[in-house]
Every structure is written in C-alpha cells, then in structure tokens.
C-alpha cells in the first residue's frame, strides 16, 4: 500500500511539473505585458504554442546529423528528470535520493552540453554564436551555482534537497548572512541559466543579441516544441529550487496525510505566483546587458557565493 502511495506521489510530482511549466511561463509573460500596459497573450498561450508546434512537420537542414534529431529528446528528458527531483509540494518522495543538488545541476549541465552541440551541428554562423556565448555564460554561472550549493549545503549539513528543505523549514537555521548572499547569487544564476533579462532576452528575435534563441534557430516542429518545453521546465526548476530552499514553509513530507499534501501543493502554487510576479517586475525594470557585461554580473554572483561560503566557514567555527 505504502509503495503504491510512494509511486503515486512521485508520479503526481512528475506530471505536476510537466503540466505547470508552460503555465508559469505564460504567467510571467502575462504579468510583464500588464506591467507594460499591454494586454498580453492569454495565460494558456504556451500550451497552444506547444500543441501547434507538435502537430507541424519538422523541417530539417540537409546536413543535420542524427545527433541533431536526438538532442531535443535528451534535453527534455534530462530536464524533466532534474525537475522531478526538486521538492515541490512534498519532501522525501520515492526517488528523491536518486540525485542530490550537485547531481541535479550536473544533469542540467548535460542538457546544456547537448544544446550547445546542437547549435553547432548544422554549421551556420548564428548557431555558432549562440553556442559560443552560451558556454561562456555557463562557464561562470555553473561555478557560481556550485559554490552557492556549497554554502547552502554547509549550513544544512547535506546536499540532499529533501533534507535541505526540511532543515531550512526548521527553527535551527536562524538568520544567516551567508544565506542572504547565497540567495542573491542563486537568483543571478537563475536569471542567467534561464536566458532572462538582463543576460539574454527570451522574446528577442534580433539575431546578434540572442544567445539561447540563436542555438535553437534551426529547430522546428516537434523538436522545437520539446526544446521550448524543456526551457519552461528549467524555469520552473529554478523557481521551485528557490522556493524550497528559501521559502520552505508548508512543504509536506511524503508520508503526510492527503490533506497536508494538498495544502502543500496550494502553498507551492502561491510561492510560484509570488516568485513569478517578482521575476516579471524585475525583468521589466532592468535593461539587457551587453554581452561582455555579463561576465561581471555573473562574476559578482560567483564572488558572493564564495563570500557566503567563507562566512559560513567562519561562523560555523565560532
């Protein structure tokens, strides 16, 4: 009975994130549009886009290799697995121990590795631009993320997300400067990783300013749908990650009653709404950076994370 329950709750998590990801993107777009006094697309527009793309033919470049066709599936699967391992409405789900936070980041790293390869497969100039800039951004964002994880893990005494979330929800944590710094660093990294303003513009189609869009320029049809879906999943992943580490209240444990799980889920929706709203406000109030300002921006995140770890080392030994 309990095994069935575990499998059900894990399955619920996987389908929940898959279902919610386009909605979150739609919500952020809607809020951004409203802030700019436009009406904006309906909330469900991302779902319609995905369905429309899935139904279309794939138009493939003549010299695209088999790798180019496999990569969307790999990216989607990798991101989906990664996001299913982040606690959303409940901690300690059946497979939560499969990968810890470092492994989740690395899994996203694998997805990005493939995406950058896809940009280079057809051999066009724009694909190369995208891949080259993407790895530059990643080469700073990934270490910043890892060091942020270090500082969080040192506070919580674990890299296992369920345990981290549980610890953060308990009274033992207190107010920590390192946590504040880790939060800022994580936010910067999340903006960079999800190709949001000020690092990249998710709505751009101006060739020379785009990074993410340039890499996936040659994709169409179902492949493009999968890639869009995986970037939506990635946004959801980072928002859930921030929610579960820095706003850990109300997350249920896996063996809690159904009512607790449902209330956990409701709270989770609330957190997503708040964070999505904040993201939209932030994006509308800031301008996109030049490409070579990004390293400084991400470097600041790296330094903050390092500082947080350092402070943690010190105050941990008082």
């Amino acid at each position: 009975m309990s095994a069935l329950r575990d499998i059900l709750s894990q399955g619920a998590q996987m389908s929940l994130v898959l279902g919610l990801a386009p909605l979150l993107t739609g919500f952020v777009r809607k809020v951004k549009a409203r802030l700019l006094r436009r009406r904006g697309p309906p909330l469900l527009q991302p779902y319609r886009d995905l369905i429309r793309l899935m139904r279309k033919d794939v138009v493939l470049a003549d010299n695209a290799s088999w790798l180019f066709r496999v990569i969307p599936y790999l990216m989607f699967a990798g991101t989906w697995v990664a996001v299913s391992l982040v606690p959303t409405f409940g901690n300690g789900l059946l497979f939560s121990w499969t990968a810890d936070l470092i492994a989740i980041i690395a899994l996203l790293g694998s997805a990005r590795f493939f995406q950058a390869l896809a940009g280079m497969d057809v051999g066009t100039a724009f694909g190369g631009i995208g891949s080259s800039r993407e790895v530059m951004i990643a080469s700073l964002a990934e270490p910043a993320m890892l060091i942020t994880v270090f500082s969080v893990a040192m506070i919580a005494g674990s890299t296992q997300l369920s345990y981290v979330a549980e610890f953060m929800g308990s009274d033992a944590v207190g107010l920590r400067v390192s946590l504040g710094m880790a939060f800022v660093a994580l936010t910067i990294v999340a903006l960079a990783e999800n190709a949001r303003i000020p690092v990249d513009n998710p709505a751009t189609h101006l060739e020379l300013t785009m990074v993410h869009e340039a890499m996936v320029l040659e994709y169409s049809g179902r492949h493009l749908a999968l890639i869009d879906l995986s970037s939506q999943l990635k946004l959801l992943l980072y928002v859930s990650l921030i929610a579960c580490v820095f706003l850990p209240w109300g997350t249920a444990t896996a063996d809690a009653s159904v009512a607790r799980l449902v209330s956990g889920a409701l709270l989770y929706f609330g957190k997503l709404t708040v964070l999505g709203f904040l993201l939209a406000v932030f994006e509308t109030s800031i301008a996109k950076m030049r490409v070579f300002r990004i390293p400084e921006f991400l470097g600041a995140a790296l330094m903050l994370a390092l500082l947080a770890t350092l402070l943690r080392f010190v105050s941990g030994s008082l």
Binding site: A61, G78, I147, V291
Partner: protein, 666 residues
Amino acid sequence: MIAVALWSVAVLLALAPAGIVLSRHPRGSIILYGGCLIATSALCITALSDLFDVPHLTQSATLPVGLPWLGAHFRLDALSAFFLVVVNLGGVAASLFALGYSRHEDSPGRVLPFYPAYLAAMNVVVLANDAFSFLVAWEFMSLTSWAMVVSHHREAENVRAGYVYLLMASFGTLTLLLAFGLLASGAGYDFDAIRASHPSAALTGMVVILVLLGAGSKAGLVPLHAWLPLAHPAAPSHVSGLMSGVMTKVAVYGFVRIVFDLLPEPVWWWSMVVLLVGGPTATLGVLYALMQRDIKRVLAYSTIENIGIIFTGLGLALAFKAEGLDWVAALAFTAAMLHVFNHALFKSLLFFGAGAVLGATGERDMEKLGGLIHRMPTTAVAVLVGCIAISALPPFNGFVSEWLTFQAILLSPQLSSWGLKLIIPAVGGLLALAAAFAAACFVKLYGISFLGRPRSDVAASAHETDRFSLTAMLMLAALCLLAGILPGLFIDALAPVSKNMVGNVMPHQVGLQWLTIVPIAESRSSYNGLLVFLFVALCGTAAASAIHRFASDRLRRTAAWDCGYPDPNPTIQYSASSFSQPIRRVFGSVVFAAREIGEMPPPSSPLPARFQVELRDLIWDGLYAPIAIVIGFATDRINILQFLSIRRYLTLVFVALIVLLLVVAV
C-alpha cells in the same frame, strides 16, 4: 600471483628486441601488438583477481638483478594491484587500437621496439619495492617514451618537444633521486626498510617537496607542465593515449607510494602545498586547452586539468589524515583513485579518437575538420561518450569522481587549521570553474571537428577507421558508461587500497538499494547513476513515442534556415578560435596576456584586413625563459674549459684529486 605478473613483464621486455626484427616484416606490427595485447591482458587479469582476493593480496619477490648487495625487490599490494589494472587496461586498449592504427605508421621501426619496453617499464615502476629498481624503471619509462615522441623526427616541432621532454624528465628523476637519497640515509634503499624507519620532520618535509616536484613534473602539475602539451601530441596516437592516460598515472602512483606509504603520518602543511598546486593546475590546464586548435594538444592540456583534480583529491586526503579524520580521508583518497581510473579510460579513448581522425584525414588542426559525424559515425559515437565523460556530466564516470571530491570538500569545516579552512573552499571554486571550462572545451572539440560542415577536402572525403581501432574505442566507451552507472562496484574495489594508504575505507556500497552510492550517510548525500540513466532513457523514449504516435512524425529536408541568410561557404561557420573568443576575452587578458590586433586598411586600399590574436604562456615567459637564460649564461662562462691545453686539463684532474683527499683527511 606476482610470479605471473613478473613473467608477463619479462615477455614484454623480450618483445622489445624482437620489435627490431619484426619492424622489417610486413605483418610484424600485428605480431608485436598482438603479443603486447596478450601480455597486458594477462597482467590486467592477474591484478584484478588480486584486488578482489584481499587476504592473499600482498606478495613480494626478490630477483638477483640490480645492485649487487640489494637485488631487485618487487611487491604486489593493493595500491600496486590497482595501478597495474590502470596501466594494463590502458595497455590492452592501446595495443588493440594499434593493431589497426599502426598501418598508417610509415616508419614502424621507430616505434615497435620501444612500445613493449615502455609498457614493461611502467609495470616495473608500479611493482618495484626498492628505490633502485623504481628509479631505473622510471628513467627507462621516460627514455622509451622520449624515443617514441621523436619517432617523427623530421618535423622540427617534434624535435623541440623531445628536447624539452628530455630535460624535464631528467629534472624529475633528479629530484626523485634526491628524495630517495634523503629517505635512504637512515634506512637503505629497500622500501620495507624505509617504511620501518623514523625520519625527522624536517627531512620528511623536504622529501614531500622533492617528490611533488619529481612526480609532479612527470604528471604535468603547473608550473612543471610545459613539456606535456608538446610531447604527448607528438607521439603516435596510441602512444599519446598511453602517455596521457597511463604514464601520468604512474607519476601519481609514485607520489602516493612515497607520501602516503613510505613516509610517516602527514603534517597539515603538506596538504596545503598539494592543494595550492592542484587547484590552480586544474583551472589553468583546461583554460589553456580551450585556447588550442590542435585536437591532440587540447587533449594534452586537458590531461593537466585532470591531474589537478587528482592532486586536489590527494591533498584533501592528506589534510584529513593529518587531522585524524580517517573516514573523510578515505573518501577523498577514493575519489582521487577513482578519477585516476576514469581519466585513464576517457583520455585514452579521446586520444584514440584523435588518432582515428588523424588517420582518416591527416589533420590534427580543428580548423580543417568538421562534419565527421557523417563520415565516421562509429568513431563519432565513441568520442561523444568520451567528451561527455571528461566534462564530468552524468550519467558517465567523470562525474562520479568529481562528485565524490566535492563531497569531501563539503566536509572541510571539520578541519581545525585556519589556513586549510580558507583554502579548501577556494580550491572548491577552482574545481567548479575547471569543470565548467571542461564542458566548454569539449563542446568546442566535438562541435568543431565532428559537427558542422567539412572545412577542407580531406575532411569531406574522410572514411571510417578500421575494426580494431573501433573495438578499442567502443570497449573504453562502454567502460566509461559502466563506471558511471555502477560506481558502487568500483568504489568497493578500491577499499583495500584506501585501507592500506589512509587506514580507513568508505562505507560498503554494493548492496544498497538500487545500487545507490552513499559516501557518508543517506541524510548527507547520495547519487544513483543507474536510475538517472534509466529515467532519462525512459522519459526520452516515452516522449519520442508519444509525440510520434499522437502528434506528428513527418519530416522534410531542405536547406539550412540561418535567419534567411544561409551561405554554402563552410568558412562562414564558427571556427575553433572564434568559438573560444568570448572566454578568451573574459579570462585571457589576465591569464594569457592576450592581445587582439586588428588591421583595417582604408576603404580604397586593396589590402586584406587582418586580425591577429597574441597569447603568451606567462609561466613559460616568467619561469622557464629566465632559467634558460641563466643556464645559457653560465654555460658560456664554463665554455672556456673546452679549449684548455692538455697540461691544464691534467692540472684540473690533479687539483680535484688533492681536494678530494683533503676532504677525506679532514
């Protein structure tokens, strides 16, 4: 089983002179590499069976060769057995690869005799149990590999590489000789006697520094790495694979054997030195790799990075051991050893891939390659696996060892020394940077040479390599995946090694549910490569089948879109240098003193516009060049001695004799 090991080494040694004869024979190389394949397989199987037969593991033997009063001592313990596996696994793969690859060799006589001797020398280093045999084998290993580095001696670059290599190898042996001299002063050359002796703290400190210099110069630690990216690519590809994948590991073995085994309990500052060298080595190595456009040179620089990761693990192990935290030391040490094994696998694989590309196109320069995934599909798959594994991405093996290293770093607040507390997070940051750069570097390597459109005619007309080479590469690729999804097996196999060296072991892994690995406790961290792999595979397949069934599975081929400006000219693609330009611009001005010089002629002028990038190796300029100048200056002064008369030479000899007698008398 040490007898089997020694006999196999003898077979290898006997194959060396046979190589001279066989090199004239049309099928000679097949016979020779076949012989090497059998001998190394025997060694590998022996060592493996020993590693799993813990109670009867340690065996010694003495042969009546070498120094008259000493003989040659050999010993097979857990550490030797593990490194025998690494060496001979590399040997098996390289020999198998060479069965096909050696057909491209135009002068086999320059490689064939040295190859088995080289393999034998590496095995003897690992088996030796006295300083004399260790050093002789070490030097023999250096010389045989040097001979193969200069096998294509008509290229001026290779001659220079050989020269620098020979110098650095002599330097390394010299420092090791001094280290053993210091150790042997109270005990003699036998390792057993050294283990039993109690050297003073000052002496052991000097030995650690000397060994770090000696083993580090062979392994390629920054700033002693200058020879490595010159020499490793110059050799034929199967030898490059052995040098990068295996010989650097033999150097790691030398370090571990002396510092962890022969010396008494470590002191905290040793670890500080090792960490301060290891962390920057990892980051700098891969940053250099990113700037290269020669495939084999990229791989050689990336070896430096991986050596940095290994030494970081060893430094952590030393730190924890010095503070009595055996169980964390075991974690860090196991991580380092696992990375030794993993790197041997994927670096050999990648060098073989580079060899296959070289054989098919005659090019090592990435700017002339491209689109090889269409022409060499199987090689492309194997190299892709190698690239993912070396970038430390799950579910392959490189990730596991880096993950374990990070877990050890996370335990460092438990240390009491302030210096270490502040250095270890910084080193963690450097490792994280290195991992991210490595991914960038291998996206570049694979994307430029295997994807895109061919940038030259040779790349457009390349053909798939032979079956032997493919078998060797696919075998290594399969092992990379296996070690990535079932890391518990490999961690458990390392238990006796870590028991011997740091006195504790990691928790037993096999038998945990779903073959998860849990380095400390489940509440701290766990990782399950198998499940990650299965989940990704399942989700991907499910998505594919669902979409193909319910949505659309139609596909049309047409010209590339490229925002409406497709250009058939392949030079429009991103090149290797332009790919790394953003990273060069961000980090290059500091690390390489990079300068970009653009010349734009006025609009009416018919001259072409030029763009030039200048990168300088600051370590070479700051360290090697001044030393070379000083040596040059000194030798110029001493040079007058070459032109003395007979009488003056005799006077010199006479004076020297008198001085010596005086020294003895006083």
